[in-house]
Amino acid sequence: MQYLTKPGLTLCCRPRCTDQCSISIGCVSKNEDIVLISGFFKPGQNWLLCLPFVLLAALPARAQDLGTISPGDQLTLPLNVTQLDGEIAIEIDAIDVTELAAIVNGQIVLDLGGTLNSGSHEVTLYLFKGDSYRILETYSFELSGGSGGGLFSYGAQATHEVEGRRVNSENELEGSSSGQVSLQTRDESFSGYVGYIASSREEEQIDNKSLNVTEYALRFQHDLGESRVSATLGHQTLDFDPVLVDSLNRRGLGLTFTSRDEIFRADLFSLQTQSTLGVENFTGLQDRDDRMQGARLALRPFKRADLIFSAQVYEGAGALFGDSIVGEGSGYSFGFDGSLRDGRVRFGAHYGRVWWDDDGDGPVENVTGDAVNAFAEYDLLSGEETNRQLTVGLTYDVVDADFVSLTNPGLPVGHQTFAFSANYTANKLYLGFLARTQETNFGGPDELETDRITRLQFDGTYDFDPVLSFETTTLSFFAYSEWQRRLDTPPMALPNFDYLDTGFDVRLDLSTALTQVSVGYGLDSLNDQNQFNEDELRHRVNLSLDTQATEALYISLAAGSEWVDGAFDDFWVHDVTLRADYQTNFDWLFGLELSTTQTNSIFSEDGFFAHLEASRPIGKFGELVLYGTWADDFLAVESGNTHDAIIGFIFRANTNFGR
């Protein structure tokens, strides 16, 4: 084991270990951070088997308490800043309030302005010097009263309806109610919401139940000195790293421990593998074959920098998209991300390995996959200095074809990709450029071919000065070119699938205070350069208009057309929807919607839809709606026939209070 005696980072391991190796990362900063993490791994498994764990983390001193402040008071920070060399920035909780501060008699005075909630708050004072910054001091204070008494705040938002109608020759009486209720303690130790839907209409029901919950979440938070523990039961989103646990919105239980200064964070989770609603498996933990659990440890060893090391593990069982068979999987990942030079350089890298058994105890062989994601971005021009900004970035992504993770089901697999991006903004101009090259079948079967797909993409917007009476006029464009070339053709593989695909979109958006107009055109051209020769040409035109024509009349028009010259079908399709609302001065609101779709495609059909309604308020929270609907063919979906004629009424009531 080896320690550093000056600021820095070390990594040590015994390279000739026989059955177990140890790995340690240690750092000591000039300030007060002393952190040591350690773990071990086995030969043959290549990488860490167990997560690093914290042996020691010397946390910084407690924030200085400034006592209780009234909402209208100014907050004075007891620090003489006249002798400081550099620029000061101030944060209250996660709000940058630097621009609201003034220096009075050498001390910083903050005008709270009544925008903060009552309760405890933390002030962080940063000192910027050149491209680096450090935390100078932290304070805490209590903001009294102000936002009403009581231990709880609560709210409810819902809409309730009773509907009677005649569909062709059948009478129906339906009802529904949907919305959500929320509850939160003033000290934020508990917050939660539950959504629900109650409906007699089968197509609106969840799991064929006339009353069911939709999404819900209950969160408990508890402060442990400088740290915080929170537990969430219900729907939650996890975005831990780009490799193993990403873009995950599922129901279950999550636990988080965070040190108050964010030096250390630990997460535990147990979630459903499928995205579901309803009371069935309410906790998300009740089905062994639809559950995954895992953990993350994240460490920010240097208090003055945002360099974060993290490690993730998971294991679980569930069915993949499109599968009915339950498989079992596990995996781990680790990596880091952070920034330098006042955030102008941003970087990160993560590695992950997963194991997947597609059929439990069945005959299908288990697979193992590795994945790496690394990126770096640099602001060549910074908006702070020039009002112009130019950012360039590099990304490297490699994912084996057998990388199957229940906790990141949307990760594209079987590729090695390099990408270069550049973004430029000035006052009214934005330009973006992307160059990407991808090798396919990475980590895939040897008998399959390998191709290289290269893509160049260019997009941008320009805000014109006011044109005619339009306050904003924005031109947007998007153009791309993509081609595929064969790299390797194994003996049994098909000949090349080379192609060249090009296209562009142009859109003009104009708006006044009362009118928005959008016009767009797009073209895609595929030149198939292989034996299949499936060339395709697509043209698209879109137009939309929203206008408050008069104080009483609102009109919305949307029209779109597409022409396709394809390999298997040449067709066109046109959609037009017109909506108009007219508010009379005797409380009635008249609404009209006309919609039509026309096509000559052999795979689709024409349709027509007309809806006329009249509504008026009933009391403070109610509304009566009388309506008639006429629908044909493609847009007639109520009765299952090719034509629907519907007349009906709705009594609708509304609930909205609190929040």
């Binding site: 940063y126 109608r165 609106e204 499109g322 920034s339 006042d342 779109g560």
Partner: protein, 364 residues
């Protein structure tokens, strides 16, 4: 004897009736394309065009049909195909085309990948019993560059929920996230039904994009209608020509539009100026908006979602008395790890009461 006579007469009558209907025989079946690429990495759908030649020996129409097809790995695929063909005249030949959407689920695709080159055979016949169905066969070739295959698909709202509750006038969009392999056109339409009185699904926007290689693609719906209270439903329907999905509606998600709290005055709008949508999170970015009459200060708030759920609170914010604000490094640090971010501006009066709010604009 009389009984035997009746039976024979009936039999002859039945034969004559049969021959009256049997007007043509299938003489050849040829599929196009002859070879189809199957991506073993996920479910996929393939368009096959069957060209069938019939010899007519009578003046009446004939029906050509096929119950289903079968792969050489033993899996039955495809539904019933049939077409009634008018007779061009006795002794004449007629050629017809039947187009099939062949949906290959992930398990079948994997099995073909494991088995290597395979076949798919479908037999077509007419009502002529003496001439058996004629088979046509296409080759199924496992290929990494094969038909577009979908590995994962999620339909959700912008705030990651699958059931949203919004106030009338709020901005709301749905998002279709797909992870795909292989190559093909992805086309379809966004459809919305509601409010309750107008329950029919109507198209509100179309999508068509060619996808290649291993990519994760997000399709954002047009702005969803929130001007009238009630219950709405949103769905995405892939076009039948889309390679990769069966042409049936994907999952439906719902949202409920409620009237704003009557006790709260209607909020004014803050118009955002820059940066443009999708700009990303970068150091020293300046956020700008148009001034609001009566506003004493503004707050730029960053959130990972739109409106619903526990994560509705902002992740970080910047307060300013001006109509622009600069993103500093410590705020950037809070936002860097987020994969999806929105920003919006709240205007406060001198007492700290919110008086206007902007729509949410996506940063990344």
């Amino acid at each position: 004897m009389a009984v035997i006579r009746i039976i024979l007469t009936t039999f002859v009558l039945l034969l004559s009736l049969q021959s009256a209907h049997a007007q043509a025989v299938v003489v050849s079946v040829s599929p196009a394309p002859a070879t189809v690429r199957v991506n073993p990495g996920g479910s996929s759908a393939i368009t096959v065009r069957w060209t069938i030649r019939l010899n007519f020996f009578g003046p009446a129409a004939e029906t050509v049909s096929s119950a289903s097809g079968v792969t050489s790995t033993g899996v039955t695929l495809g539904g019933s195909l049939s077409k009634r063909v008018p007779s061009p005249g006795a002794g004449q030949t007629e050629t017809i085309t039947l187009t099939e959407r062949l949906f290959i689920d992930r398990n079948t695709a994997e099995a073909i990948g494991a088995a290597g080159p395979s076949t798919y055979t479908r037999s077509f016949g007419s009502t002529v019993a003496t001439n058996g169905p004629i088979p046509g066969t296409i080759s199924l070739q496992p290929s990494s560059g094969g038909s577009l295959s979908i590995r994962n698909l999620e339909l959700i709202f912008d705030d990651d929920s699958r059931f949203a509750v919004v106030e009338s006038g709020d901005a709301l969009n749905a998002r279709l996230e797909i992870s795909s392999l292989g190559r093909g056109s992805f086309a379809g339409r966004w459809e919305v039904s509601g409010p309750t009185g107008s329950a029919a699904f109507r198209p509100i926007g179309r999508v068509s994009r060619r996808l290649s290689g291993a990519v994760r693609t997000v399709f954002e719906s047009p702005n969803l209608r929130t001007d009238r209270p009630g219950l709405y439903q949103v769905r995405f329907v892939p076009e039948a020509v889309t390679l990769g999905l069966s042409p049936t509606p994907l999952e439906v998600i719902s949202y409920s539009v409620v009237e704003p709290d009557a006790a709260e005055p209607a909020a004014k709008n803050v118009n955002l100026l820059s940066p443009p949508p999708g700009f990303g999170v970068k150091g020293a970015t300046r956020f700008a908006w148009q001034p609001v009459p009566g506003a004493a200060r503004y707050r730029v708030e960053f959130s990972r979602t739109d409106a619903v759920g526990l994560d509705r609170d902002f992740l970080a914010a910047i307060e300013s008395r001006q109509t622009s604000a600069l993103l500093r490094q410590f705020t950037l640090r809070r936002l860097n790890t987020e994969t999806r971010l929105f920003w919006y501006v709240v205007a406060f009066d001198g007492a700290g009461t919110p008086i206007a709010v902007s729509s949410k604009r996506q940063l990344k």
